[in-house]
Symmetry: C2
Subunit: 462 residues, 2 copies
C-alpha cells in the first residue's frame, strides 16, 4: 500500500498537473494510478472530484466511483453534466448501481433511472424490486452462462466474445434450455479439459445456490463456508437470475458489523462515515437512544425514593449504590455482547436459548460470588484501617456481598436472554446494547440491594 | 442453502448408511455432498468425525477440515491414525495449515510439522516465522508465476501443467528472472490475447501489492477498495513470496469483528464459539475484566464516602446518583463505540483526534443540555404532583440539570478520546469497552455532581 510519504508526493504531482491545466497529461497521470489511489485523491481534493472522474476512461471512472463514500458519490453525480452522469451510471456494474441508488431519495432515483439505456433500466428496476438486505440487491446479471450440451471449445469461444462484459470469468454457469441452473464450473476445469468434451460431462453436480430472497447475512455465512469467489442466484423455480461475487459480500460483512457495533453502543446505525455525517444528524441518532435510556433510568430515582427513609437511617447504604448497579450493568453488557456476537456469526440460534440460560446462570453465580467476596473483604478491611463504616460493618459487608451475587446473576441472565428475545420478536438482537441492558439492570439492582438491606440490617433500619 | 427439513433428511440418510457399515456407499454418499454440508454433518455427529474424514478423498477431506471449528479440528487430528493425519496436513493449503497450527501449543506444532513432507515443512516453517496477525500468516505459496518474456501460449501451457496445484488461476503473477514481482494479470486478459503476444506487452503496470509484514486489517481494507480476488505479497526487496486470496480475508474480517465486539463488551476475546468454550475458560475470560472494573468501581464508594455528611443533610441528593452516573456511562459508551468502529474501518485515524474532539465537545454539550432539561423538568413536575423533594426542589433540579450537562460532556470526551489514546499507546482501541468507559466516568461523574451540589445548594449543605 502507498505509504504516507508516497501519498504526499502523489498529491503534489497531481496539483502540479492540474495547475498546468493540460488535459492530456492529467488523463495520462490518472490513467497510471490504481483506482484506490484515485479514490484517495478524490477524498483529499473534493473540489476536483468531477474533474477527476471526467478525465478518466468511463470504465475506470466507474471502478473509482463504486468504491467512493456515499457522500462523494452524491456530490459527483450532482456536479457532472447529465450526459456524463448517464455514461457513468450505464457503465457502473448493476450490483453497485443498485447499492448506490438504494441510498437516494426516490425522486432522485426516478430521475437517474431515466438516464439509463433501456436494457440497463430494465435490469436496475428488477434489482430494486428485491427487498432491501436481500441477496437480490447484491446480484449482478453480468455473468457468463453456457448451455449444458456445448463443447469446451464452444464455451471458450463464447467466453472470448462475452468475457469483456462479465463481472467474473473465473466461474462459468451452466444452464439448460429453460434457463434453469444446472451447475457451475471453474474456468480452470474448462482450460484443463480436452476441447471436444461436452461441458455436461465435466460438471460434478456439486453446487451451492443462493435464493434471491435470502438475507445478505446468509450469503456471508455461505461464502465463508464454501471457498467460492462467486455464487449463482436462483428464484423459487431454479431459474438462474444472476450471481453474487465475494467482494460485494466483504463490503456487506464490513457494513453489517459496523451497524451491529453502533447499535450495541446505543446509537442508531449511522450509515455514513463518522467524520462525514453532519453534526445535527449525528446528534439526532445519538439523542434518541440516550433520551429513551434516560427516561428509563429515571425509574432509579423513583426506586431510590422508596428507600429514602432507610438511607436517612443508614447513609452508609447510599455509598455502595454506584458499585452495586455498575456491577450489574457490567456483567449484563458482557453477557449481551457475547450472545449478540455469537448470534451474528451463527454460533447461537433461537433454539439454543436453554443451553445459553444454563451456562449464564452458572457463570452469573460464579462471577457474582467472586465480586461478592471481594466486596465483603474490601468493606471489612477498609473499616479495620479507616473505621469508616461504624459498628455495623459486618452487616453492611454481608448486605453488599449477597446483593452482588444477586445483581450479577440477574445482569447475566437479562443480558443473555434479551438478544434472544428480541430476535424471537423479529427485532435486531444488536438493539440490546450495553447501555440498554445496563439501564434495565440498574432499577432491579437497586431493588435487590435494598431488599437485602431489609433482610440483613433489619434492626438498624427499623 | 439447505433448509432445516432437508438437513434432517440428510442426517437420517447418513445414519442409515453408517449403520449398514458399507464403506463404499458411505464414500459415495459423502462424495455427493457439498463440503459445507459435510461440515454440518461433523457438527451434528462429532462421534463419527474421524470416520467421515477418513472416508473422503484426501482433497475433499482437506477442504472440509479447513472450514471446521478449531475444536473439531483438534479432536479429528487426535483421533485419526498418524498416516492419515500426515496425508491431511500435507494436503491442506499452506495458508489454512498455518492458521490451524498457530492455534496449537508449540509441542504439538513441532510434532505435526515432523509429519509433513520436506517441501511442505519448509513452507510451513517459513510462514509460521511471520508475526501473528501479519499478512505473511495468510499467504499461500500455491500460485502461478510466469516470466515476463513468455508468450501467451507458453503461459497457457504452464497453467495447464501447474494449475491443479494452485489455489487460484484467476490471476497470474508475472516476475522477472530475479523473482521480483512485475505485475499481475487476470486469466481473462490472457484468454482474450493473441497466442504469440508476449505477456510483458499485455500487462498494464497497475498493480497493488501487500507487504508480507503488513497487518491483516490493512489487507482487508485494500481488498475492500480494489475489487481483486487475490493480491501478491512481496518482501522489502519486492521479491514475490506468495499470494493472499479474498476468501481468507473474509474469514479474518469476521474474526476480527468478533474479537472487537467481545472486547467492547468487556470480555477477553474468546477465540472459540460461545457454546463450545469450556465453562471454566469462559468464566476466566469474563472474570478478569469484571474484577478489574469492580476494583475501579470501588472508587465510587470512596468518593461517596467523602460526601457522606452532605448526603446525611440532604438525602434527596442520593436519589439521583444512579441517574447521573448512568447518563455519563451511556454517553461514554456511545462515543467510544462510534470511534472504535470508525477506527476499525479506517474512517478515523490518530491524526483526526482534534476533529473528533471538536465534534464530541459539541455533541456532548447538546446531548447533555437535552438530558439536563428533561431532568430539571422531571424533578419540578414530579414535585408539583407528589411533593417528594420538599422545599428545595428548584435547587435540586438545577443541581441535577447542570450536573447532567457536565457528566454527559465528560462522558463523550472520555469515551471518544480513550480509544484514540489506546491506539496511540499501541494497545487495541476495542479494549476501551463500554463497561471500561462507564467505570472511568462513574467516579468523575460523582465528583461533578457533588461539586454542583456545593455550588447550588450551599445553604442547605453547610
Amino acid at each position: 500500500m502507498t505509504g504516507e510519504i508516497e501519498q504526499d508526493e502523489l498529491n503534489e504531482q497531481f496539483l502540479r498537473i492540474l495547475q498546468e491545466d493540460d488535459v492530456l497529461s492529467a488523463r495520462e497521470f490518472l490513467n497510471q494510478q490504481n483506482i484506490s489511489d484515485v479514490a484517495v485523491l478524490i477524498d483529499e481534493f473534493p473540489e476536483y472530484e468531477a474533474k477527476i472522474i471526467s478525465n478518466m476512461s468511463i470504465h475506470r471512472a466507474s471502478s473509482v466511483f463504486k468504491i467512493l463514500d456515499l457522500s462523494s458519490q452524491k456530490s459527483i453525480i450532482q456536479s457532472l453534466p447529465p450526459y456524463k452522469t448517464a455514461e457513468l451510471l450505464n457503465e457502473l456494474p448493476a450490483d453497485d448501481r443498485t447499492s448506490f441508488l438504494e441510498e437516494l431519495p426516490s425522486e432522485v432515483v426516478k430521475e437517474l433511472i431515466r438516464l439509463l439505456d433501456p436494457e440497463e433500466r430494465k435490469i436496475t428496476l428488477a434489482l430494486l424490486g428485491y427487498p432491501e438486505g436481500s441477496v437480490g440487491r447484491l446480484m449482478t446479471p453480468d455473468y457468463i452462462a453456457v448451455q449444458v450440451d456445448w463443447t469446451m471449445s464452444e464455451v471458450l469461444d463464447h467466453i472470448r466474445e462475452e468475457g469483456k462484459h462479465s463481472e467474473t470469468i473465473d466461474v462459468i454457469y451452466v444452464v439448460n434450455d429453460k434457463g434453469e441452473f444446472v451447475d457451475d464450473i471453474r474456468i480452470r476445469e474448462i482450460l484443463l479439459s480436452p476441447p471436444d468434451r461436452e461441458i455436461g460431462d465435466a460438471i460434478d453436480n456439486r453446487f451451492i445456490t443462493l435464493k434471491v430472497t435470502d438475507d445478505q447475512e446468509v450469503a456471508n455465512q455461505i461464502f465463508k463456508m464454501n471457498n467460492r469467489v462467486a455464487l449463482p442466484v436462483v428464484d423459487d423455480k431454479n431459474i438462474l437470475l444472476g450471481i453474487v461475487t465475494i467482494d460485494d459480500v466483504l463490503w456487506v460483512a464490513n457494513e453489517e458489523f459496523s451497524e451491529d457495533m453502533q447499535k450495541m453502543g446505543g446509537t442508531e446505525a449511522l450509515n455514513e462515515p463518522y467524520l462525514e455525517i453532519p453534526l445535527m444528524k449525528l446528534f439526532k441518532k445519538r439523542a434518541i437512544w440516550l433520551i429513551v435510556l434516560f427516561l428509563g433510568e429515571m425509574l432509579t430515582a423513583t426506586a431510590m425514593g422508596y428507600f429514602e427513609d432507610e438511607i436517612a437511617k443508614a447513609v452508609v447504604l447510599a455509598l455502595f449504590v454506584p458499585l452495586i448497579i455498575s456491577s450489574g450493568g457490567n456483567s449484563g453488557s458482557q453477557a449481551s455482547t457475547l450472545i449478540i456476537q455469537a448470534m451474528a456469526v451463527g454460533e447461537v440460534t433461537l433454539s439454543d436459548w436453554w443451553r445459553v440460560l444454563r451456562r449464564e446462570i452458572l457463570s452469573g453465580l460464579m462471577l457474582g460470588s467472586i465480586l461478592g467476596l471481594i466486596g465483603f473483604f474490601r468493606i471489612v478491611a477498609w473499616n479495620s484501617i479507616f473505621h469508616t463504616y461504624g459498628d455495623h460493618t459486618a452487616l453492611i459487608g454481608i448486605t453488599v456481598g449477597v446483593s452482588l451475587v444477586g445483581v450479577v446473576l440477574w445482569g447475566t441472565i437479562t443480558g443473555s436472554m434479551l438478544p434472544i428475545a428480541l430476535k424471537k420478536l423479529g427485532a435486531d438482537p444488536a438493539t440490546s446494547s450495553a447501555p440498554f441492558v445496563a439501564t434495565l439492570v440498574d432499577v432491579t439492582g437497586l431493588l435487590i440491594y435494598f431488599s437485602m438491606a431489609f433482610i440483613f440490617m433489619k434492626d438498624i433500619l427499623s
